[in-house]
Structures are given as structure tokens and as C-alpha cells.
Symmetry: C2
Subunit: 207 residues, 2 copies
């Protein structure tokens, strides 16, 4: 089948987009509001960009009806920083608690019963229960689409510090038997990793 976004309502195209662009990693983003309240929310439009400077990005969308900005974005605009906590599969239920549309000023840390611990380089806290944290400063925010429903902010963060808990390392490398990252699919679906295998990149040899 063929979907043409120009003739497909946004509300119908979005489910196809998230079912087809898979599997997505989850940025569990912690921020602090101007008033000092910690916020925590998951985003699966998330990837790395560059190593010089080291950057990553995620895209908080506007509310599909009201066009309201998410608290995560409001907080990053106010404070200039955030932490990306990577979500292991065993924290899936806690992560899902923080996907609830809480009113501004409520703390998802309490709802999810996870622990905010101070970061070293940024004001936003880290999630103690997550084994991997990227402390980020705002690098650039690129507005895509309207300043309202359907639009999104692409938040590009400069990685200032990367924490990796020793308990997920074997011989100094992240071991996916000790850290099983959660993957986001379409609809309400999530996945764990299955079979892993290695493929070396080949070198070009002229014939």
C-alpha cells in the first residue's frame, strides 16, 4: 500500500510512521523547571548525530490538539540543559508511568518511584535506576513545522558527560546480557532484544 501524507490525515499518518521506523531507542529525559521541579518523560524520536562536538537529538512534538509545548521543552528552554537516561527493559513499567500527561509542576519521579540524583555538569537530575546517563547542554533547537499542533522541536544536545554503571560492563565494555535496552515499536508495542550477531564492515578491494 502507498500512503501520501498530503492526502492522509496527520492522525492516520502518525501510526504508520511509528510502526515503520523501528526499532527506536528511548530517551528518558530528565529536566528541572525554572521553579526547581524535576520532570521526567520518554521520547522515542531520538538518535546520535556527531562526535565533534559529541551531540545527540530528540524531538518533543507539540500537543496534537492544543499545540502546547511539553514540559521537557519548556524546561530546556528555561535552564539550557537535560539528562538522557537510557531505559533498560526492566524499567519499562516505570518509564511508562512517566508517559502520563501530568499537569505542569507535578513530578514524574514520584509517580514512577525512581530516584533523582544530582548530575555533575548540568542542573537536571539523573535517574539513579538507569545504568546509562548522558548529561547534555542545549546545543541548538531547530523548530520543524508550525509553532502549534503537528510541529516539533528538534532538541540537539551537546554531551558533556557520559555515565555508565560498572554493573553493566564486562571487560570494560557495555554487555547487553547485563543491560538489555528497551525498544519502541508502533502502537502500544515495545520489544526486548532477541538474537545478537556480529558483522564486520568490509574493505573495498578493486577487481
Amino acid at each position: 500500500m502507498i500512503l501520501d501524507p498530503a492526502t492522509t490525515p496527520k492522525s492516520e499518518f502518525y501510526p504508520w510512521l511509528i510502526r515503520c521506523l523501528v526499532p527506536r531507542p528511548i530517551a528518558w529525559v530528565s529536566t528541572t523547571s525554572r521553579e526547581g521541579v524535576h520532570n521526567l518523560a520518554p521520547f522515542s524520536f531520538f538518535t546520535a548525530i556527531s562526535t565533534e562536538p559529541p551531540t545527540l537529538c530528540f524531538a518533543p512534538g507539540r500537543h496534537p490538539v492544543t499545540g502546547a509545548k511539553k514540559d521537557t521543552l519548556i524546561n530546556i528552554e528555561a535552564t539550557g540543559d537535560f539528562v538522557v537516561n537510557v531505559v533498560p527493559a526492566e524499567l519499562a513499567a516505570d518509564m511508562n508511568e512517566t508517559a502520563t500527561d501530568f499537569p505542569h509542576g507535578a513530578s514524574e519521579f514520584e509517580a514512577a518511584k525512581v530516584t533523582a540524583v544530582p548530575a555533575e555538569r548540568v542542573k537536571a537530575p539523573r535517574v539513579q535506576e538507569s545504568p546509562i546517563h548522558f548529561e547534555c547542554e542545549r546545543y541548538e533547537i531547530v523548530q520543524i513545522g508550525p509553532d502549534g499542533p503537528g510541529g516539533a522541536a528538534l532538541v540537539i544536545g551537546r554531551i558533556m558527560l557520559l555515565h555508565v554503571d560498572d554493573r553493566v560492563l564486562t571487560n570494560g565494555k557495555v554487555d547487553y546480557d547485563l543491560f538489555s535496552p528497551l525498544a519502541r515499536l508502533g502502537g502500544m508495542e515495545y520489544a526486548r532484544l532477541g538474537e545478537r550477531f556480529q558483522m564486520a564492515r568490509k574493505k573495498y578491494t578493486p577487481r
Copy 2:
């Protein structure tokens, strides 16, 4: 352990970045050069952004030593379009063939033995063997970091058309038993999906 990018060589930080930001989907990007040669290359710094307009992005990095641009980027700058083909696990070996550093002008379609078929809205071809194609026009290219080694271009594409092969659909939805997407991890590691489960997003109820 804690890694500070400011005091860690890029060549050491990059492996940590790709081991920690997981699992990543793979954009198998097809383009056409100004001279008409088709190119195909995989990128795992890849995600969706917005629905209005519908956009996605991927980040081709510069060559870590020479700073050279990848052919994919050169072609998108020349023609203004590209196709993202999603990689099912059974095409892993073919995808890996296209990760070889071929000279400019060589066609990865021949090396990988996959078939270029015309797209409808863009000049770049689609990979017939992939069940999902996003036909994209260049929306914006954001330069991150230096115009040389370590820098990257964040290529933002506007999705003009989405093709989903009927053979991966069950009751009008993408069925991950019929389409098993490949995931990229760190080092040379890849993964298939394992156990899948559903979690509904909760609604907020004031106490």
C-alpha cells in the same frame, strides 16, 4: 565509569556513544548522483521528527581522518532527494555489503545484489527487496561541528510518500512477525527483536 568527551579522544568516545545509545533503527539510504549513478548506504543515526510536515532525519558523518563527505550527502545536496529503505533482518548481509567504503561512482546496488526500482515522487530509487520505503525530499540540512573530521550533517527529509509492502501487513497493520526489523548496537553488533509486549499510556487522574 564516567567519560568526559573533553578529555577523551574522539576515536575512544565514539564506540561508547554507539554502545550506549541503543537499539538504533537503520536507514538504508538510496540516492542518485548528478551523473545518474545510484548509491546505497546504511546509517544508524536515524529517527523521525514531526508529522506536520512529516519529517525524519539521519546524520551522515564526515570521514574521521580526511573529513570527506559521504556520497549519500553529496548526492542529496546535488539532487535534493533520497529514499529511506527500512532493513529487515533477513537483508542484514546485503545491507552490510553496502557499508563498504566504495569509491565515488561505484554502485552499491550491484555489490549487494539488490534491485533499484523507480520511486514515484523523487529521483532516487527504492530498494525492491525492502518492504518499507520513505520517499523524501530535502527539507533542511543542519551542519553540526566542523566542516571536516568529526563533523556531521543532520539531513532532515520531508516524507513525500510511504510505501509498505502488503506482504508485511495483517489486518491493515505492519506485523512484526512478517517484518522483523534489524537493530544496530555497538561495535560490530546487530540484533533481531525478541519478546514483544504492550503497555498503554495512562491518563492522569488527580488524587
